[in-house]
Structures are given as structure tokens and as C-alpha cells.
């Protein structure tokens, strides 16, 4: 069997691969379009469309929608990792990575760590858009940073899931359409945009099971009340569990010699 790479080797290789991904973004800045435009567009659009109907005004609606749209953006940014991996695999350059005496997980790990940059940009843009529209979180700046960190962690954990999907899917298009569907279902069947109390019982149950609801509730407690709740711990545990389950599965799928 293959010997496990030395940790220093793995970290150096992962750093190199992350650097490669960042270089690719620098050469093709349009790769950042989704994380730049989506939070602005959705916050402005949904804020002015639904603000009055749901919360009686835009300013009153912002504490609901800013974390909601941020998590929605995280979902689509995470799915972007999956289709990027699929594209890379199809380009033939992965054959070369696989034929090198390097840590085998590094190409994937590098991609996912480089994507933290995308997630961070999305977080900054989402919060800045809310702020420009008059959002003033009661928790203060420290809690904004903490909530942003939690959102980035959630997005990063989910990117492992999409990485596996990217490895198993036949094409990048398939990853994108599946990701689009997942993003729609997970973000709309949650408390991201609406208060849950008006939902019929069965839908309420679905929304309460939805992990996205828990992430958003935890973030709202941090942003609006400055509270680190039990739900926040739950999100951390859930995120760590996703990485612990999906990272090995992803590696397995990646190493599987056809």
C-alpha cells in the first residue's frame, strides 16, 4: 500500500496547489464574478422586494436577509469548487499531478484552501452591501467578524461535499446544475429569507431540519444579540463532521485507479 505522506510534505504540496489556484484567479479575475455580484444583487433585490411585506421595511428586514444571503452565497461558492475540480480533472493536468511523487490529496486540498479566499470575498461583499443599505448589527464589529468566520467555515466544510460530487460527476455542467438545485432547496426551505412561523406544519418541519436554518439562526444570535449560542456549537460540530466524513471519501474517489 501507499505510504502516507509526511505532514510537512503534505502541507508544502497543499500550499503550492493553493498558490496555483490563486494564480489562476489572478490571471482570470472573472472567476470571482459569482462571489462579487451575487451577494450585492440578491441583497438589493430581495431587500427592496420583500422588506416591506415581510418585516414592514427594508431596514427591519436586513438583519434577517444579510446572514441569509451570505449563507446562500457560501453554498454557491462551495459548489464552484466542485465544478472547478471537475474542469481540472478533464483538462489532463491532473494526470500529471497524479504521476508526481507528491501528497495525493494536495491538488484537492489546495483548491479548497484557495477557495477560502473566494468565501472571504463573498462574506466581505455581503456584509458591506447590507451596511450600505443601512444594516447596523447590534452585536458590534467583533461579532460581525465572528459570524463571518462561522459563515466561511460552513462554506468551506460544504465545499468538501461538492468536491466529492465534482470527482464523481461526469461533467462540470452536471455539477453546476446539481449545485444550483441544492442551493435553491437548501436556502429557500430555510429561515434565510422569511420568518418560519407562517409555514404549514410539514414545511416547518423540513425547514427546521435544514442545517442551513441552524447556521443562520446561530449567525443572527451573534450579529443581533452578541451571543454565542448552543446552535453555533452545533454548526461547528456539524461542519467538522462533514469534513471528517467527506474528506476521506473525496480522497478515496480521487485515488480510485480506473
Amino acid at each position: 500500500m501507499e505510504i502516507i505522506a509526511k505532514p510537512t510534505h503534505l502541507m508544502a504540496n497543499t500550499a503550492t496547489m493553493a498558490y496555483r489556484n490563486i494564480l489562476k484567479t489572478i490571471h482570470n479575475p472573472e472567476r470571482l464574478m459569482d462571489v462579487l455580484i451575487q451577494p450585492i444583487l440578491f441583497t438589493v433585490m430581495f431587500g427592496y422586494l420583500f422588506g416591506g411585506a415581510i418585516a414592514g421595511g427594508v431596514a427591519a428586514y436586513l438583519p434577517t436577509i444579510v446572514p441569509g444571503i451570505l449563507i446562500q452565497t457560501m453554498l454557491s461558492a462551495a459548489s464552484g469548487s466542485g465544478s472547478q475540480i471537475r474542469e481540472d480533472l478533464d483538462s489532463g493536468v491532473f494526470d500529471r499531478f497524479k504521476s508526481l511523487p507528491m501528497a495525493h490529496i494536495a491538488p484537492l486540498a489546495g483548491q479548497l484552501f484557495a477557495d477560502i479566499l473566494r468565501l472571504t470575498i463573498a462574506t466581505v461583499v455581503a456584509f458591506a452591501t447590507g451596511f450600505a443599505m443601512g444594516w447596523r448589527p447590534a452585536g458590534g464589529f467583533g461579532w460581525v467578524l465572528a459570524a463571518g468566520g462561522l459563515a466561511i467555515f460552513t462554506g468551506w466544510a460544504m465545499s468538501w461535499l461538492f468536491a466529492l460530487l465534482g470527482l464523481l460527476a461526469k461533467s462540470a455542467t452536471m455539477v453546476q446544475s446539481f449545485a444550483m438545485m441544492t442551493m435553491m432547496i437548501l436556502s429557500f426551505l430555510s429561515n434565510a429569507f422569511i420568518p418560519l412561523k407562517t409555514l404549514p406544519h410539514w414545511l416547518l418541519t423540513v425547514a427546521q431540519i435544514n442545517p442551513i436554518t441552524h447556521v443562520i439562526t446561530a449567525m443572527r444570535a451573534m450579529l443581533n444579540q452578541g451571543l454565542w449560542t448552543q446552535q453555533a456549537w452545533l454548526v461547528i460540530i456539524f461542519g467538522v463532521a462533514i469534513v471528517l466524513i467527506f474528506a476521506p471519501l473525496t480522497i478515496l474517489a480521487y485515488n480510485k485507479p480506473n
Binding site: 500500500m1 501507499e2 505510504i3 510534505h9 508544502a12 504540496n13 503550492t16 496547489m17 498558490y19 496555483r20 494564480l23 489562476k24 490571471h27 482570470n28 483538462s91 489532463g92 493536468v93 494526470d95 500529471r96 499531478f97 497524479k98 504521476s99 508526481l100 511523487p101 507528491m102 494536495a106 485507479p257 480506473n258
Partner: protein, 311 residues
């Protein structure tokens, strides 16, 4: 495994589902030789290469590279070879310099070593002027050169070239051949797949002809040509009327059957010295000739003889 063997393949097979891509191939490739895997599209050359380079797992059989089993010690094996893919496997979005730096680092070079090596390789492969251009803007030949440069970063003793000149124009193909010959001169062992007979003939010390996943024959280009048959004598006459007489005469002289096509008479030639007899006899019978040529078999003849009727 002998000390001068670079690769030993033993009863290698590969099936994809129900499709038998490679069937029971056994081969030994010596150190320092250029070994060509020759075969038509879909013959299984690339599948064999992918198994040798640990990218694909054999269904049966073993491959040993410099004494290391590709399945049991893939990491040790990967440290011993460089691979240049059929489709240039460098990163298109980034520059040549960045590609070289990244692959140098992944090969375990320190940052300063990586810089030195990248600079040296850019010079060696005449890519200095376009080092900072994105590879997407490169011509096919430049991309192949960069691809080859990347696979030479770790100065591996064994180099795999998967169809190194497919899709290149004749000039860049000749440049690529010159580069490959330089590598040979430095003592590297080279395994190349090709569907071009001329390329195998030009570069390879020994050739394995592969067809439908099976090893048809292995040998030096000369041995393969000899196996197919000796030289051919082609004689063109001045007058078409004399052809029947000349055919008869040549059949008698050469003790093989001569055949005529238009004004050219073709006959197998066991010994080149027989040409003198043929010329003497023709002259005695007043049969003037326009042209006479002795042709040794080409790799094309070898290829078609060995893979005949299957494609």
C-alpha cells in the same frame, strides 16, 4: 530482473468492463534505450503507458520500474520518471514560468532550486521570450516544449512520451525529434508511443508493435524490416512491349516470381549482388531500362504486414 533493465512488464492485461483493452503483454525495456510502442489508434498503447505511469491499475500482471513494483510502491516509482502526455498537460491559465515553478515545488525542490531549474529549462527549451505569457496563448510546438520541460524538472532517469509529435507541423516535429535525441545522448531511457512509423523508425532503438491490445512483435527497426522480407528490385523498361519477356527473364534469374505493373517490374531480391545478373541478362536480350532501384522495406511495410486485415 536484470540490473540493466529499466522496465519489466509481465503478462499485463487490462479490461474496462467487458472490453479487453490490453491482453497478456510481456516486455522488457533496457536502460538507456529508446523504446517505441507503435500501433494504430485504439491499439492500447496509451493504456499500457498509463499503467506504467501508475495512472491506471492493471487488471492482471505486474510492471516493475528500476526494481520497484508500480502497484506496491507507486510513490517510489513516480519519483523515477517524467511523463509528457498526449495532450499537453500543463496549466493553460498560468504562465510557463509559473508552471515550471509550481511543478518544481511539487517535485520537492526548494524555492531557490525551483527558480534555478525553471530558468535553466526555459533557456534549454527556448521559451525565455514567452516565459510570462499564459500558456493558452502558446503555439502547439511551444506547448509541447513546455510540457517536456516540465517532465524533466526532476531529471528523471526514465521519460515517457505519449505521442510527442501528434498534431505538430513537420518543422516543429523535427525540432521535437532533435530534443528527444539530446535526451538520449544524456543517457535517459525513453519510452514513446507513436502512431507514426517514421517517428518510430527515426527515434527508437527497439519497437513493440501493438494491435488490438496484443503485442504483435518486438525488435529493432532493422530486425522488424528483415522479418517482413528482404529488399525489392524495381525495374522500369523503356518499351512496354518487352515486359512479358523481361518478367520471364527476371523470374528465371532471381528464382522468385516477378510481377509487372504498367511499365515497372517488381521482384523480391534475396541478395543485392543479383542485380548485376539481372542487368547483364536484360542487356544480352536488348531490353533497355529507364530506371532500376533496390528498395529496402519501410516501417510502413512492417506495420501493414504485421497488422494486416485487422483495421
Amino acid at each position: 530482473m536484470l540490473a540493466n533493465d529499466a522496465i519489466k512488464i509481465e503478462s499485463l492485461s487490462k479490461t474496462f468492463g467487458t472490453y479487453q483493452a490490453v491482453t497478456d503483454v510481456s516486455l522488457t525495456i533496457h536502460k538507456g534505450e529508446v523504446f517505441g510502442l507503435l500501433g494504430p489508434n485504439g491499439a492500447g498503447k496509451t493504456t499500457i503507458l498509463r499503467m506504467m505511469t501508475t495512472l491506471l491499475k492493471p487488471s492482471h500482471g505486474t510492471i516493475t520500474i528500476f526494481g520497484h513494483d508500480t502497484q506496491k510502491q507507486p510513490r517510489q516509482v513516480r519519483a523515477l520518471f517524467g511523463l509528457t502526455g498526449q495532450y499537453a498537460s500543463v496549466d493553460e491559465d498560468i504562465t510557463a514560468w509559473e508552471n515550471l515553478m509550481i511543478f518544481s515545488r511539487l517535485n520537492g525542490l526548494s524555492r531557490s532550486e525551483a527558480k534555478q531549474r525553471s530558468t535553466a529549462l526555459l533557456q534549454e527549451f527556448s521559451l525565455v521570450a514567452s516565459a510570462d505569457k499564459a500558456v493558452a496563448a502558446y503555439s502547439g510546438g511551444m506547448r509541447r516544449r513546455l510540457d517536456l520541460a516540465v517532465s524533466l524538472i526532476s531529471q528523471p532517469p526514465l521519460i515517457f512520451l505519449d505521442e510527442p509529435t501528434t498534431g505538430l507541423d513537420p518543422r516543429t516535429r523535427n525540432q521535437m525529434w532533435a530534443t528527444i535525441r539530446q535526451l538520449v545522448a544524456k543517457g535517459s531511457t525513453i519510452v514513446l508511443t507513436t502512431q507514426y512509423l517514421a517517428e518510430a523508425d527515426e527515434l527508437a532503438d527497439r519497437i513493440a508493435v501493438i494491435d488490438h491490445g496484443k503485442l504483435i512483435q518486438v525488435g529493432t527497426p532493422a530486425a522488424l524490416k528483415a522479418a517482413v522480407g528482404g529488399s525489392t528490385l524495381k525495374t522500369q523498361l523503356q518499351s512496354v512491349n518487352q515486359i512479358p519477356a523481361a518478367v520471364k527473364l527476371m523470374t528465371q534469374t532471381l528464382h522468385v516470381e516477378a510481377t509487372a505493373d504498367k511499365s515497372i517490374i517488381t521482384a523480391k531480391l534475396g541478395n543485392p549482388n543479383q542485380v548485376t545478373n539481372v542487368l547483364n541478362r536484360l542487356s544480352q536480350h536488348n531490353i533497355p531500362i529507364v530506371n532500376i532501384a533496390v528498395q529496402s522495406p519501410s516501417m510502413d511495410d512492417v506495420f501493414f504486414a504485421l497488422t494486416s486485415g485487422k483495421n
